[in-house]
């Protein structure tokens, strides 16, 4: 091993402090572990759901029972005992807090500590937040302001009760419960999440954001997000997530569905910072998520941007079904793995619409003993004329014990398509570090600088408010004490 490698391992190999690793001491109602039809009925009942919703869950549950656990990913996933997980955990509270007085001060403090103030006076301006703790939505800010424009932004539980027609129309329309193992599981037991509806011709005046927090131990988090942008609408949406540091693994299996109508545009950004486990790979969140958007309308546009730094295992492919003529799909991703983290992530661009276009920029960064895979599918249907795709897939290796892998699938059934794929693999060189050192920049900071430079193309796609935070996170993730 050369000196440089030792140095980089020193920088990135440390079990850095995860500042979101605290636990909130709050009364939580947790149902006993285990999954059965009874449990599905119990969840539905606790949430006071209508009959059609219970049917939806039961159909999903029965289908899930028939499925084998998927094993095709380039991941080493320990056996998950689905009967050992509790499927519902709720901070004890009165039903659906409408005013702040009803929200437990401990919860407000928790979100304050996470940098997400929920009091309307203090709430981040220019951004509305739906705060979800364990299985339930705690509070959604700026609702009145949004309502004036006809925008619906609330927890999905509320939406099921208050906007049943909209939910019925769209729920499961993009990600069916038959889609995959974890989608079926989520459809059966999902507890909360956010619902967004932007009416025709409305440009959402602020960023919408959901902040997911796992707090209770021994539980899984199964949230469900549904975003609908009607004709000519626009919304930028951001998701953030953290969890306490624990020795156990926690399962997070979410579904995000997005429907984009004619000429509408949705930007969906994720800064994922679930607890990643310690240096030896103990604990951490299993982040198995199905995210998909349907660009149903002509000239509609969906853009996914993700910065993935957390989770013991990340397994997800935010995808676009480009059905509308001239519709546009984009995927910008930075995925960082260190210590014993594993990631198998990428995207699917399914082109069924004429002249639809897609861009994929994936930046993987692997350090320590981690494994980082890009897996992507570009599919062009037989009748989709004039399709364009450009894929750029870069891997950066830090140290010599990590792995970077690329699995690009290209499936083109129409001769007029132009599909490009570019890929690079690089390391931070000894020369680059010494150059920085010579200018007075310490190695730790130099690594942060170089990594942020490498990821800049993707970071630039994040909303301004979060770009700075994400940059800091990226540097921090790879920082440790240099020996």
């Amino acid at each position: 091993m050369s000196k440089e490698e030792v140095k980089i391992d020193d920088v990135v190999g440390h079990d850095d402090e995860y500042k979101y690793g605290f636990v909130t001491d709050i009364d939580t109602e947790i149902i006993p572990p285990g999954l059965s039809e009874e449990v599905v009925r119990l969840i539905s009942k606790k949430k006071g759901e209508p009959e059609w919703m219970l049917d939806f869950r039961l159909k999903a549950y029965r289908y899930w029972l028939t499925l084998p656990v998927p094993r095709w990913a380039h991941l080493d996933i320990p056996e998950i005992d689905f009967q050992a997980i509790s499927y519902y955990a709720a901070p004890t509270k009165k039903e659906g807090p409408k005013s702040l007085d009803e929200v437990d001060p401990e919860l407000l403090k928790t979100f304050d500590r996470l940098g997400i103030p929920l009091e309307e006076q203090k709430a981040l301006s220019g951004m509305a937040v739906d705060a979800v703790m364990d299985s339930v939505s705690v509070k959604t800010t700026h609702r009145t302001l949004l309502a004036e424009k006809g925008i619906i932004f609330c927890s999905i539980s509320e939406a099921i009760k208050e906007y049943p027609d909209l939910v019925k129309k769209y729920l499961g329309s993009v990600v069916s419960y038959r889609d995959n193992f974890y989608a079926a599981l989520n459809s059966a037991v999902f507890s909360d999440g956010s619902f967004v509806y932007i009416p025709k011709g409305v440009r959402c005046p602020m960023e919408l954001s959901t902040y997911f927090r796992i707090n209770a131990s021994g539980t899984g988090q199964f949230e469900r997000t549904l975003i609908v942008a009607d004709d000519d609408a626009y919304v930028s949406y951001l998701e953030g997530c953290t969890a306490p540091s624990r020795d156990e693994n926690q399962l997070h299996a979410a579904i995000v569905e997005i429907v984009v109508e004619n000429r509408a545009e949705v930007k969906y950004s994720t800064v994922q910072n679930w607890y990643a486990g310690d240096k030896e790979g103990r604990g951490g969140v299993y982040n198995f998520v199905t995210k998909r958007g349907l660009c149903r309308g002509d000239f509609s546009k969906l853009s996914w941007t993700q910065v993935e730094t957390g989770s013991a295992i990340t397994w997800k492919y935010p995808s676009c079904v480009l059905a509308g003529e001239g519709s546009v799909g984009e995927f910008y991703s930075v995925a960082v793995t260190k210590n014993r983290q594993q990631a198998d992530t990428g995207t699917k661009m399914i082109h069924t619409g004429k002249n639809s276009r897609s861009t994929i920029v994936s930046k993987g960064i692997s350090a320590g003993h981690s494994q980082n895979s890009y897996r992507g599918l570009v599919k062009v249907a037989p009748n989709a004329e004039g399709v364009r795709n450009y894929t750029q897939c870069d891997s950066l290796l830090l140290g010599s014990n990590c792995g970077a892998h690329t699995f690009p699938y290209i499936d083109v059934m129409n001769d007029s398509a132009v599909v490009e794929h570019e890929a690079t693999t690089s390391k931070i060189s000894e020369e680059q570090l010494f150059y920085c050192n010579q200018r007075g920049i310490p190695t730790e900071e130099a690594v942060g600088l170089i990594v942020n430079g490498y990821a800049k193309e993707v970071m630039n796609k994040l909303p301004m408010e979060f770009a700075v935070e994400a940059q800091r996170l990226l540097s921090l993730t790879l920082e440790g004490s240099v020996g």
Binding site: C436, G440, I450
Partner: protein, 256 residues
């Protein structure tokens, strides 16, 4: 007698077990310019790398005093903070990192070392503007990524620009003239001269007299097989230009 800035004493250094520097002795006082010349493979670049603390090289013997500090005990970034600057022969590219961000990190790291507050964005950009003029570096170059896609001449100009920003007391210019056309050479040498004060010193490593027409040395040293075998005034460089190195090899008893 002026104040001593650098004293290299019997410096030996090796890479991969192979000894390159075999006992360098060199004293540089404040305000002096020293040229180091010598045939390929004599150890010129190794000397500059070792002084700057390049971890690829191992110092096996000797000591270096840098204005009263034990240079060899300092890590590369602290050598930089203490005023040592190396203009690289082959400046490395750092994609995606803008020169502005890079230099701000460098300047603020130095300020932190001296317990000074970081510069505000405004103060920093103003300083960048002033320093850019030293080497006639245009604004666009400064907003591009570090050395990425720069021509050979732009890279060298960019090195001198960084030197202007960091204000070192000892600059080591490692073959700064290689790959430069005559116009670029004039600009780069002009920049070095503008930065010259009676307090700071330079080591100019070069193969050619050409650069020394622009940057006047006080001393010229010939490095050969890891040792300084001859020292003279500026006239020594002219003589080397005219006669090559063979006569020196003969002088030390190993001509062919």
């Amino acid at each position: 007698m002026s104040e001593q800035l650098l004293k290299v004493n019997n410096l030996h250094a090796s890479i991969d077990g192979k000894e390159i520097l075999k006992g360098i002795n060199l004293t540089i006082n404040r305000g002096e310019v020293h040229a180091i010349m010598g045939p390929n493979g004599s150890g010129k670049s190794t000397l500059s790398s070792v002084l700057a603390g390049d971890p690829r090289f191992t110092v096996t013997e000797g000591s270096v005093d840098f204005h009263g500090m034990d240079l060899l005990s300092l890590n590369p970034e602290d050598r930089s903070h203490e005023g040592l600057f190396l203009s690289f022969q082959y400046p490395v590219e750092i994609p995606g990192v803008s020169m502005v961000n890079f230099m701000r990190a460098a300047v603020n790291a130095k300020r932190k070392y001296f317990n000074q507050p970081a510069l505000t964005a405004g103060e920093f950009l103003k300083m960048m503007r002033v320093k850019r003029e030293v080497v006639e570096l245009d604004n666009k170059l400064a907003s591009r990524s570090v050395n990425e896609g720069f021509s050979g001449g732009e890279k060298k100009r960019n090195e001198i620009f960084q030197m202007a920003v960091l204000e070192p007391c000892l600059s080591i210019l490692d073959e700064t003239d290689s790959g430069l056309d005559i116009d670029a050479l004039r600009v780069v040498a002009g920049g070095v001269n503008k930065l010259k004060t009676p307090e700071n010193s330079a080591i100019v490593i070069t193969h050619y007299q050409r650069l020394l027409d622009y940057i006047k040395p006080d001393f010229v040293h010939v490095l050969y097989k890891g040792r300084i075998v001859k020292t003279g005034g500026p006239e020594l460089a002219l003589e080397l230009e005219e006669r090559g190195y063979d006569w020196i090899k003969q002088e030390i008893g190993e001509g062919e």
